[in-house]
């Protein structure tokens, strides 16, 4: 026990970890503190941020550790979300059916898309993931039955059939999302530490060498791609439940770009980087948007500056400062 305590204190000497801890404490306490201050609006805002956090963690898994830049990752948000929406539309509201189907479908699509796109490299990989995502985007836009461009209202949230546990309760909804956020970070931590993670990371830095020692990098990458797709699908099904609404906009290519940026902003290939990145990204846009409707004119150059001067993202910036002191 004491050992862990000392390690924790050691970790907190790094400002990046302090920031992460602060964000997590805010996430944990919002449903208790915000209503007391008559600001329950923030419960929804933070729930939304945490969902983006889960999606960003999944992007980090393939991009941060695997070096695979997918410009179509938001498509799995859409698949997870639309599965819930479409099943609910047809009267299937049981979470025990909806959720496994949503996660399974996300994985299946990731398997197909991954199998095609992992044959290419570099820019071609970016472009083909984008093209494949656009296909699903346009499919949803033309799905007249499911609302086309307007999206689909979900009249009933996923039902667990357990009394006392209902997603219609705001606090239950919130802490369900929080639990999934922590779980996604835990899963990515375990994966990265495993033999599997070592191969993925090695393949990123030096592909031919991994090939030569007899490990088929392709299969490992594909597996990582599928896991990331399923994790993002979970974010999608949570988002569908939170918003009670799904629309093609969930998988717009700009959403994929924003996901990538959240990861870079927080700090690529760091465990909690995507979470803090999502937090800062969305809070900043929230604050700037409240300040002026022309907020993009500040946000755009901010993006450029982060890329140019803060390569390690927030984690990198804070850690570097600590090392300098």
């Amino acid at each position: 026990m004491q050992k862990y305590g000392r390690r924790l204190m050691g970790a907190l000497r790094n400002p990046a970890n302090v920031f992460t801890a602060l964000v997590l404490v805010i996430f944990a306490l919002t449903p208790i503190v915000a209503p007391a201050l008559d600001e329950s609006f923030y419960v929804i805002v933070f729930a939304r941020i945490m969902i983006w956090g889960i999606a960003a963690v999944s992007v980090n898994l393939i991009m941060g550790y695997g070096g695979l830049i997918s410009f179509g990752h938001a498509v799995y948000l859409g698949i997870g979300g639309y599965t819930v929406g479409i099943l609910a539309f047809h009267g299937v509201t049981s979470a025990w059916i909806q959720w496994p189907v949503a996660i399974g479908l996300s994985g299946l699509v990731a398997l197909i898309f991954g199998a095609i796109s992992l044959r290419t490299k570099g820019v071609y990989f970016i472009m083909i993931t984008l093209a494949l995502a656009q296909m699903i985007f346009f499919l949803s836009v033309s799905a007249e039955r499911y609302g086309s461009d307007d999206g689909l209202s979900i009249l009933a949230r996923s039902d667990f059939g357990v009394s006392g546990f209902s997603l219609n309760d705001k606090t239950t909804m919130y802490y369900t999302i929080f639990a999934f956020l922590l779980a996604s970070v835990f899963v990515s931590w375990r994966l990265v530490q495993s033999r599997f993670g070592t191969v993925i990371r090695a393949a990123k830095s030096n592909d031919p060498r991994v090939q030569s020692i007899g490990v088929a990098a392709y299969r490992y990458r594909l597996t990582a791609f599928v896991i990331a797709g399923m994790m993002c699908g979970i974010a999608g099904l949570l988002q569908a439940n939170l918003e009670s609404f799904v629309s093609p906009d969930m998988m717009n290519w700009q959403r994929s770009g924003e996901l990538i940026f959240m990861v870079v902003l927080g700090g690529m290939s760091t465990l909690f980087g995507p979470v803090t990145g999502a937090f800062v990204f969305l809070m900043l846009s929230e604050i700037l948007a409240g300040w002026t409707i022309h907020w993009h004119i500040i946000f755009g150059p901010f993006l450029v500056l982060v890329v140019l001067f803060a390569r390690g993202g927030i984690a990198g910036l804070l850690t570097r400062r600590a090392e300098r002191d």
């Binding site: 499919l139 799905a143 993009h296 140019l308």
Partner: protein, 308 residues
């Protein structure tokens, strides 16, 4: 099937292809030579439309607008290259994608601040208004023929520039092996500025000549940008010829898909299923095409000779 309808739809597709080519030509050069993924190329399309359109409205002449747009976009392109993009060349594709994504947000908002949210309506020059008969019962809007002619002239000009001039030789050298070109004494920074400026002019031209049809709107470049990326990936990055062929193929397939797919699907599907599947499949068509081509030829149709 009615040959008049088919011909006119083919012309529509060809005209869309021309616009895509003007976008893709600059994109593929910048991509092939500088190895820069430039999402902000769509902003050049938009800025060309707004700047050229404003000049046209001020002078009362669309032609003057087109002519003055060229030096204006050259300057804008070179300035953007020197201030924002130059530092990105040594960076990886991820940094380039993100930084130029940021530039899109900036340019869109700056355009909104300068021109207002409602966009710009640029009237068609009177001498290009109306329709013309091409014989065999085929009639076609004069202005769309004008677009096709302009595009073909530009394509021919680019062919001469790249194939027959000294600067073209440098461009080709840069596209196939940048380091070698640098070692051989080519002034790489200057070459890059010129190529980027040229790309900005072509994108701006595309934006401006489509404006009398669609009007200028904020963010108008983004949809075209994605199509242009599809085009250059299909054509092979760095290849002007590939960009041309892929543009025309993409434009024609997209247009023919939108016009005839529901009719074709009717042969296999019941009427209401065909009616709803038609728009869905036709909007996915070019992405399916791209995925298929990349699956069989991961470097596109015309990879430049000696490229990595």
């Amino acid at each position: 099937m009615d040959y008049v309808l088919l011909t006119e739809q083919f012309l529509n597709g060809f005209q869309l292809g021309i616009i895509l080519f003007l976008m893709a030509a600059g994109l593929t050069l910048v991509f092939g030579i500088m190895d820069l993924v430039n999402l902000a190329h769509g902003s050049m399309f938009m800025i060309g439309a707004f700047v050229g359109g404003t000049i046209a409205l001020l002078t009362g002449s669309f032609v003057v607008g087109v002519i003055l747009m060229v030096p204006a976009m050259l300057v804008i392109g070179v300035v953007v290259e020197m201030t924002a993009l130059r530092t990105l060349y040594p960076r990886d594709h991820l940094d380039q994608v993100l930084a130029t994504f940021g530039l899109i947000l900036f340019f869109n908002e700056a355009t909104r601040l300068i021109w207002g949210p409602e966009g710009l309506v640029v009237p068609l020059p009177a001498f290009l208004d109306g329709i013309v008969s091409l014989g065999f019962g085929i009639t076609y809007p004069v202005y769309r023929i004008f677009i096709i002619v302009i595009g073909l002239l530009v394509a021919f000009g680019l062919y001469l520039l790249v194939g027959k001039t000294r600067i073209g030789m440098l461009i080709r050298a840069g596209a196939s092996n940048r380091t070698m070109a640098g070692v051989l004494g080519v002034n790489i920074p200057k070459l890059f500025s010129i190529v980027f400026g040229l790309g900005a002019v072509l994108a701006g031209l595309a934006g401006l000549i489509i404006t009398p049809i669609t009007q200028a709107a904020i963010g108008m470049g983004e949809d075209v940008l994605i199509l242009a990326f599809v085009v250059i990936v299909i054509g092979g990055i760095g290849s002007i010829r590939g960009a041309f062929v892929a543009s025309i193929v993409t434009g024609v397939i997209d247009t023919l898909g939108r016009s005839f797919l529901d009719v074709v699907l009717l042969l296999f599907l019941p009427a209401n299923a065909a009616e709803s599947a038609g728009p869905a499949v036709s909007s996915m068509l070019i992405y399916i095409l791209m995925a298929a081509i990349l699956f069989f030829r991961p470097q596109g149709l015309f990879p430049p000779k000696g490229a990595r």
